[in-house]
């Protein structure tokens, strides 16, 4: 079978990471990878090269404006946007991973191979409306992540977190599958974009089975974005996983799930008007629950990683508010916020690596006084944390602003006020991070231990944090350019939501 150039163009963004993953898996067969540095460097280099090739290819597609397809895979603007988003997150993860896994003493090529497979699955997940491809994409990015959470087997609790994530994730995936099957059973077509008009034509738009199917699909998405009540896995999984992987999960999984949700619910299933209305009602209730629970629980955490996990839950709440508003401008805000969120959260988890916090030592007490020792990291931490709290002129503020403005415009004033209150509350725990960094001096015991250990050397993680801080600042000052140039075009050309 011969593929046309256009079909190759659609496939290549998925193929580059897969080929890279296979190569890295083969390289990690080498027994000397624990002792010989150049083999490790070659593995990380290959992974970066694969990710870089995908990035280069997708930006090329974006600038030429072509939107190739291969069977059910539609590499449209929205998919290209997602691809670039995921690939940047993966590149930052790989850079931070080099430092973090050396600190943990667990540098394995399999980790990289799994990460690359996951990247490929994520791009597929956001680039299709066909249920079979959608489900396979979901599994292709979830299964490597289950393994990645438990990857550092030297730590006993990593297996626990991985197992919890795996079991809950498997249940959520099977619910997602059941939802798709119900819609397929009644419509007779696997392509959700085709199924919606067929169902309307048959007069089954409000059939209870269709509603339940849509609800189960929604459950699958909400699990992946860790919205309340499907959030319980999040803190345990993040705490168990290596810092860069936790960052990748919080950013890429959430982003891809939101973009796929956008493609399926307001996009493909739009002809089923009743489903859209019900989806918005459910989203409104769950967004409130997510914001309240995520923020209040984050207040009482002593472990930075658990705090960041609850913070990522509350950020899912802000993004869900964009779906409650449901206007194209709100979706534009969601995409913009996702980009800023990528930089903020990859930066926040990168800081843990850059400060050399390993294993269990990730409490606020371990951060004391580190801001003065590493001024560049301290300033980056200040930028990232203030942006997470949504304080202008950082990028995080504008993302929230775009979403809240649309909420007010569509008459959800109460929810907008709740969102603002929630970000005020969140300022407390983000500032606590900065207080620990700058205003508290480390205990005598910690000082003594620190002087015994060699100085933390994490140049790549440090560089990635600086890049993240720069993106956050750029998001603040160039927000109109970013939102109109990228997010808006992704929505307009990809989904046809904006004209």
């Amino acid at each position: 079978m011969n593929l046309t150039p256009s079909q190759w163009a659609a496939l290549l963004p998925l193929l580059y990471p897969v080929i890279g993953g296979c190569l890295v898996a083969l390289m990690s067969l080498d027994k000397d990878q624990a002792t010989t540095k150049w083999i490790r460097a070659a593995m990380y280099g290959t992974a970066l090269l694969a990710v870089g090739a995908t990035f280069w290819y997708l930006t090329d597609l974006w600038t030429t404006g072509s939107q190739p397809t291969f069977f059910q895979l539609h590499m449209d603007r929205l998919a290209q946007f997602t691809g670039i988003f995921v690939v940047v997150a993966a590149a930052l993860t790989i850079l931070q991973g080099w430092d973090h896994f050396h600190q943990e003493g667990w540098v394995k090529g399999e980790t990289l191979a799994l990460l690359l497979f996951s990247v490929s699955g994520m791009i597929l997940f956001a680039a299709t409306t066909h249920f079979v491809a959608l489900f396979l994409g979901l599994e292709l990015f979830s299964i490597p992540l289950y393994a990645l959470v438990g990857t550092v087997r030297a730590r006993s609790e990593s297996a626990e977190g991985g197992m919890k994530y795996f079991l809950t994730g498997a249940v959520a995936s099977s619910c997602f599958l059941m939802g798709g099957v119900l819609i397929y059973g009644l419509s007779g077509t696997l392509d959700l974009a085709v199924a919606a008009p067929v169902l309307v034509a048959k007069g089954l738009g409000t059939d209870p089975l269709v509603l339940v199917g849509a609800a189960l699909l929604l459950l699958g998405f909400l699990f992946k974005v860790s919205a309340v009540p499907f959030h319980q896995w999040t803190p345990d999984a993040y705490e168990a996983s290596p810092h860069p992987i936790a960052g990748f999960m919080s950013v890429a999984t959430k982003g891809v799930a939101f973009i796929a949700l956008l493609r399926i619910f307001p996009g493909s299933l739009a002809p089923l008007g009743a489903v859209g209305v019900k989806m918005q009602a459910v989203m409104a209730v769950l967004a409130v629950a997510t914001l309240v629970l995520g923020n209040l629980t984050a207040l009482v955490q002593t472990n930075v990683k658990r705090m960041l996990a609850y913070s990522s839950i509350s950020h899912a709440g802000y993004l869900m508010l964009g779906f409650v508003a449901g206007t194209p401008a709100a979706f534009n805000g969601v995409l913009f916020y996702l980009v800023i969120y990528l930089a903020m959260n990859m930066g926040a988890f990168g800081l843990l690596t850059a400060f050399g916090l390993v294993g269990e030592k990730t409490t606020f007490d371990d951060l004391r006084g580190l801001g003065w020792k590493r001024p560049a990291m301290g300033v980056s931490a200040a930028i990232i944390m203030l942006s997470l709290a949504g304080i202008p002129p950082m990028g995080g503020f504008y993302g929230k602003y775009m979403i809240f403005r649309e909420l007010v415009a569509t008459g959800h004033v109460g929810m907008a006020i709740l969102g603002v209150l929630a970000s005020l509350v969140s300022a407390y725990y983000y500032l606590r991070f900065l207080v620990a960094l700058f205003l508290q001096s480390p205990g005598a015991e910690a000082e003594r231990l620190a002087s015994d250990r060699p100085a933390v050397h994490a140049p790549l993680a440090g560089a990635s944090v600086l890049v993240c801080a720069a993106i956050v600042m750029a998001g603040g000052f160039l927000q109109a350019f970013l939102a109109n140039g990228f997010a808006r075009r992704a929505l307009a050309d990809g989904l046809g939501l904006l004209r």
């Binding site: 399999e110 490929s120 699955g121 597929l124 299964i143 289950y146 393994a147 991985g162 089975l209 339940v212």
Partner: protein, 164 residues
């Protein structure tokens, strides 16, 4: 016929859940698989039925029984603490779920329409048809499934190999 196979499937599944002895539970699973294979036959899909018996009842069952034998723990371990509240809540939830599902199926207009008009019966699924749809219509899914299996294998090795 449908009722028979459905009962075999359901009873097998129930037996698997309630059985304390792991090997008997495994054998109950075989009964479930056979019931599902029968349901596939009724849906004019002998290929799926044959695959179900070969792959599930044959290969996967043997694998499961081997694992049970290797682990050498035939009896379920007793729970460390009895949790009566959770037990009853879960029973109530399952009952509510079952009731909801039955009600849903009975009230669905779409299913009734299917029963009355009866969709035109497609011809029996043959191996040729499976092959052509797999490699023509679902080529992307087929390839991705291959990558998925590879990723799962790498993940399993990364998690379990002693001297990685």
């Amino acid at each position: 016929m449908f009722i028979t196979f459905a009962f075999v499937t359901l009873l097998g599944a129930l037996g698997m859940l309630l059985q304390k002895n792991v090997i008997v539970a495994g054998l109950c699973m075989v009964a479930t698989f056979f019931g599902v294979a029968g349901l596939f036959l009724l849906l004019a899909n002998p290929v799926a039925a044959a695959l179900q018996i070969i792959v599930y009842s044959g290969a996967i069952m043997v694998l499961v029984l081997f694992v049970i034998m290797m682990l050498n723990s035939h009896e379920e371990e007793a729970a460390q603490t009895a949790r009566p509240v959770q037990r009853w809540v879960s029973v109530a939830l399952v009952a509510a779920l079952a009731f909801g599902a039955v009600k849903l199926v009975l009230t669905s207009a779409g299913l009734k329409a299917l029963a009355v008009s009866g969709e035109p019966m497609p011809g029996a699924m043959t191996l040729q048809k499976v092959g052509t749809t797999l490699f023509a219509e679902h080529l992307l899914g087929f390839e991705v499934a291959g990558i998925l299996l590879l990723a799962a294998m790498v993940g399993a090795v990364a998690l379990t190999k002693r001297n990685l």
